[in-house]
């Protein structure tokens, strides 16, 4: 069995406790307008055009079967509407201008990388985080990967949107040592507007999490103009009050690093001009969350 993986990020410090390796799986059943990993949304491979890396070798022109690459007036031009996403140009582009994201990998191939940092996981009480995209979109593969981690004594964390019916999600969730899930918006209309889906299943799943007896963290990314209102945070914090195994509720500041990825995918990015929230505003929202009497923290 293989899984579609976009990246294996070692020395990950923000995807759970301790020092971790995060495995990003490709494919997501939501379509958040602010997603800072847009290459993980589609399940299939994506071609990126990092034009600023082009060295003008035109190897892509000579290998492209659909003539999506052309040399015009001494410069390389890429026509994405002609592209059939075969990846032949990326194979010959060593300069990193044309890059294919998404690689089918076996569990063994992933573990060969993951296992290299075992001493760090042990000392720091870290481990591996399965993320994405959405890990529940590749449940069988993720379960096999989680088993392989446990077989080597490596703790497994899941980052998930919990947008899968609980009984279907349960087999994978039960394998986690830690669950990190997002609750972006309380209001269901706003949730559908910004993510493409309703939040009913997510809310229900968060309620069910206590039955697993697995520690979990609920997080809200603070997106300017979308999720960063006092009302949203208050509503979510209130919702979380009855949770027994909630480690903490975490506010994550807007991450602008996705901007160049949208450009490379030639997709519009509604948050191209957005900036991370100032620290003072983060502290205000943190206070809002904490005022509901739940353990809350914010990222740096």
């Amino acid at each position: 069995m293989t899984g579609m993986v976009t990246e294996i990020e070692r020395f990950a410090l923000n995807d759970g406790p301790g020092i971790r390796t995060t495995v990003f799986l490709k494919g997501c059943d939501m379509n958040c307008a602010w997603c800072h990993n847009p290459e993980t949304i589609r399940a299939g491979r994506d071609l990126h055009d990092y034009a600023q890396n082009c060295i003008g070798c035109y190897k892509c022109v000579s290998v492209c079967p659909s003539k999506a690459h052309k040399r015009i007036d001494g410069a390389h031009r890429f026509f994405p509407n002609l592209c059939i996403q075969c990846g032949k140009c990326a194979k010959v582009c060593y300069a990193g201008a044309m890059v294919m994201s998404g690689e089918p990998m076996t569990v063994e191939q992933i573990m060969a990388q993951v296992a290299q940092d075992k001493p760090y996981y042990t000392d720091s009480k870290g481990g591996v985080t399965l993320s994405g995209g959405e890990v529940l979109c590749q449940t069988p593969f993720a379960m096999e990967l989680a088993d392989a981690c446990h077989a080597q004594g490596i703790s497994v964390g899941l980052e998930t949107n919990l947008n899968t019916p609980f009984e279907k999600a349960r087999p994978l969730l039960e394998k986690a040592d830690l669950i990190m899930c997002d609750l972006k918006l309380w209001d269901s209309v706003a949730h559908r507007r910004w993510t493409g889906v309703d939040n009913a299943v997510i809310l229900q799943n968060i309620r069910e999490l206590d039955s697993l007896n697995i520690p979990y963290i609920v997080r809200t990314p603070l997106i300017p103009g979308a999720t960063d209102s006092d009302a949203n945070i208050t509503a979510i914090a209130t919702f979380l009050k009855p949770c027994q195994n909630l480690m903490y509720y975490e506010l994550l500041n807007f991450n602008p690093l996705g901007r160049p990825k949208y450009a490379s995918l030639m997709r519009p990015y509604p948050f191209a001009e957005a900036k991370p929230l100032p620290r003072a505003r983060m502290l205000e929202l943190l206070a809002v969350a904490q005022s509901e009497g739940i353990p809350a923290r914010m990222d740096n």
Binding site: Q52, A97, D117
Partner: protein, 736 residues
């Protein structure tokens, strides 16, 4: 006589707390750094605590050789005594101590090697392989300051006279005559300094500063001959020893600072003449005076941790003065966890590259493989940019002997292409082996040559006095040290490993380019048709640092070969213990300038890799763990270092949890086999701004290699090296 004094700069009635004084001293330090940049240009090395010499100070050495220079015991002792007799006083009434210097005699000398002992036969190999041979180099070992504390300068003089009467050969007598000349000059100098400070105290109008000058004068007059008894006297003795050794030849390193100071601290506290605030102020002033390398904590002979209250005071003092500083915390199994965590917190708080961290297990177990016992191995302290030393017992040439293995690779590659009809990585390796063996042999021969003749070139007249052996035998430390643990570092391991890997991958496994086409591109610096394309292809091969890649496997092979060759020299030269390491210091650019384009996609003259670090772009995520694992795999493991140089974003440890992760990271990096960890905490955007305009951040301190320096003082090329390293692990904003 020329002087730099700062009396009567404040109103008589102004009062000064220690905090006020530290603030003033810091401000003055920054101004002095700016003056150094303006008048002397930048400098790609330590700060040393130097100041610019007064304009009216001139020193003309006396020659004792036909070539116009001076050499040997007579030449050095006579000139040193002459220089001391006219050396200006630098006295800042804000400071607790005096002892700032201006330059090193070695740097003012045109010729660094006595021409009566040429090494022409060795030079061709040194040139061919771009070897820094160490012949004529100095310092870079650790004298034992405790010997100085136990004797004082008066006691040192007595000891010299005692052994002069025992060892009566002409060579010995020359040694003693010249050493006595030096020590008598030192005593005369200190006496003059004491009286000059006393005179300054008479004219200083500010009461606080006058009192300080009076105390300073009393301390200095006593330290001219007596051994120190209080903490202030101890540190003043250290400042002066630092000055005397730096003035001579840039000098050696420091020692186990907490244990050096602890007896004096405890004495003063018990006597009721010291409090912690004053102790911290004294220690802060010690750091102001010099940027010596000191170790903190670590196991004593019984394996118990040496971290004490004084260790904490030292960290607090360094935090207070907050300038370039070279403290290393020794990490071991019975570490005081709170002290460890405190040290890490300061690293992230001040972002000045201190403290560093050394790995006791790998260092001690490695050194024991040379045949030494654990007790001795534990005495080997972190004492320099990348090196360890046993105070008072070793002579080492640490950090002074380097083989540019990238150049050796170039020689092997060129030879293979000229003679082999069917080039291959196998034949390339065989030639590399052959040439590296020759390079190592010649280097060892050079070290032996240095040991034979260095006393007739530049004897270690200052460090001899605090080493076991020289005074007792009447011979320079290069002939009389207890142990000759001779360092031989390689530089360029990543450049070589990546080159082998790129050849194996792209030529032999994938058939993407031929040997001949590669050679042609390299000869044309990648400017032939498709040159940049092929360069990018080679550049993006499996790299050392990537994690179990072809590059990693070749690096292990290169290290195994180099280590075996260096250790093999011990058989050729009984009595000499050759210890391999991987370190380039500040020679990264210069070494690179001697090497043309290499198969790893490197262009003509570009820098080789820094130390044991992989080259930039080794992994898309620049993962610290991957890099550290790779460097651990190439530790020679005989007690010297292949340091890990890390650049981390300050945001990583922005809260308690972040600091915990950093403590864990540092401990694991060292426990997985690494020996030394140099860490910069640098914001990527800040360093890019500072690189464009260094004057925007005059107090920005970075750990360049093993040493810290003000970023503004570095040359643009060296600033670029630091920037490249920061970007390598933090990534560019646009990542492919």
């Amino acid at each position: 006589m020329a002087q730099i004094i700062m009396v009567n700069q404040y109103p008589a009635e102004q009062r000064f707390t220690y905090g006020d004084r530290i603030r003033e001293l810091r401000k003055r330090k920054l101004l002095q750094t700016e003056e150094k940049i303006e008048k002397e240009g930048g400098l790609d090395e330590d700060d040393y605590g130097r100041v610019v010499a007064p304009d009216d100070f001139h020193f003309e050495p006396e020659s004792n050789h036909a070539d116009g220079s001076y050499y040997g015991y007579e030449g050095w002792s006579r000139n040193y005594a002459k220089l001391l007799s006219i050396h200006p006083l630098y006295c800042d009434p804000m400071d607790a101590f005096v002892g700032r210097g201006f330059f090193f005699m070695t740097r003012r000398k045109a010729s660094l090697w006595n021409p009566d002992h040429p090494y022409t036969a060795l030079k061709s190999a040194f040139d061919e392989y771009n070897i820094i041979c160490g012949i004529g180099s100095d310092g870079h070992f650790t004298p034992d300051l405790r010997m100085g504390f136990a004797m004082g300068w008066g006691g040192i003089l007595e000891k010299l006279k005692k052994y002069r009467d025992i060892n009566t050969s002409p060579e010995n007598q020359l040694f003693y005559r010249c050493e006595i000349t030096v020590v008598e000059a030192i005593i005369a100098f200190l006496t003059r300094m004491g009286y000059e400070i006393a005179e300054l105290a008479k004219v200083e109008r500010n009461a606080d500063l006058q009192k300080n000058l009076q105390e300073m004068a009393a301390v200095n007059l006593r330290m001219a001959t007596e051994k120190p008894e209080t903490l202030r006297e101890c540190i003043q003795w250290m400042c002066w020893f630092s000055f005397f050794s730096r003035l001579y030849n840039r000098g050696p390193s420091g020692g186990q600072l907490d244990e050096l100071l602890r007896p004096f601290y405890e004495h003063d506290i018990a006597a009721g003449i010291l409090d912690d605030e004053t102790a911290k102020f004294y220690i802060a002033c010690l750091f102001l005076n010099d940027t010596r390398y000191y170790q903190l904590a670590g196991p004593n002979d019984q394996g118990q941790d040496m971290a004490s209250h004084v260790s904490y005071l030292i960290l607090e003092a360094a935090d207070w003065i907050n300038i370039a500083c070279n403290l290393t915390v020794r990490v071991h199994d019975r570490m005081n966890e709170d002290f460890f965590r405190t040290a890490v917190s300061y690293l992230f708080k001040n972002k000045n590259g201190w403290p560093r961290f050394s790995g006791d297990n790998s260092l001690v177990n490695g050194f024991m493989r040379c045949g030494f016992d654990q007790t001795l191995a534990r005495k080997r302290l972190a004492a320099g940019c990348s090196w360890m030393s046993i105070p008072g017992m070793e002579y080492t040439l640490n950090d002074l002997v380097k083989i540019n293995v990238a150049k050796v690779f170039e020689v092997a590659f060129t030879e293979m292409m000229a003679t082999e009809a069917q080039p291959s990585t196998q034949t390339l390796w065989e030639r590399f082996e052959k040439h590296l063996s020759r390079a190592v042999d010649t280097t060892a021969e050079g070290i032996r040559f240095h040991l034979t003749w260095q006393d007739q070139n530049e004897p270690e007249l200052i460090c001899n006095l605090l080493s076991q052996g020289p005074v007792e035998t009447g011979l320079d430390v290069t002939k009389s040290a207890r142990y000759f643990n001779m360092c031989m570092d390689g530089a360029g391991i990543a450049t070589v490993a990546d080159s082998f890997a790129a050849c194996e991958q792209r030529i032999e496994r994938e058939g993407k380019i031929s040997w001949q086409a590669l050679e042609r591109q390299m000869n044309l610096n990648w400017n032939d048709i498709d040159g940049e394309y092929q360069r990018q292809m080679m550049l993006h091969s499996e790299r050392y640092g990537g994690g179990d890649t072809l590059g990693d496997r070749w690096a292990v092979r290169v290290n195994d070969l180099f280590t075996g060759l260096v250790r093999g020299e011990c058989q050729r030269y009984p009595g000499l213990n050759f210890i391999p390491g991987w370190f380039s210091w500040a020679n990264t650019l210069d070494f690179g300038s001697h090497v043309r384009a290499t198969p790893n996609g490197r262009r003509n003259g570009e820098a080789i890799n820094h130390g044991a670090n992989p080259t930039s772009g080794f992994r898309k995520d620049g993962a610290v763990t991957a890099m550290a694992n790779s460097i651990a795999s190439v530790q020679p493991f005989y007690g010297n270092c292949a340091p890990v140089q890390l650049e981390l974003d300050p945001g990583i440890a922005g809260n308690e949890e972040g600091v915990d992760k950093m403590v864990s990271m540092i401990r694991t990096i060292l426990e997985t086999g690494n020996t030394l960890l140099n860490i910069n905490i640098i914001d990527k955007h800040k360093i890019l701004e500072a690189h464009k305009d260094p004057s925007k951040y005059p107090d920005l301190v970075v750990r360049v290699t093993g040493f810290t320096a003000y970023f503004a003082m570095l040359s643009p090329e060296f600033r670029q090296l630091v920037v490249d390293r920061v970007l390598a692990v933090n990534g560019e904003d646009v990542v492919a």
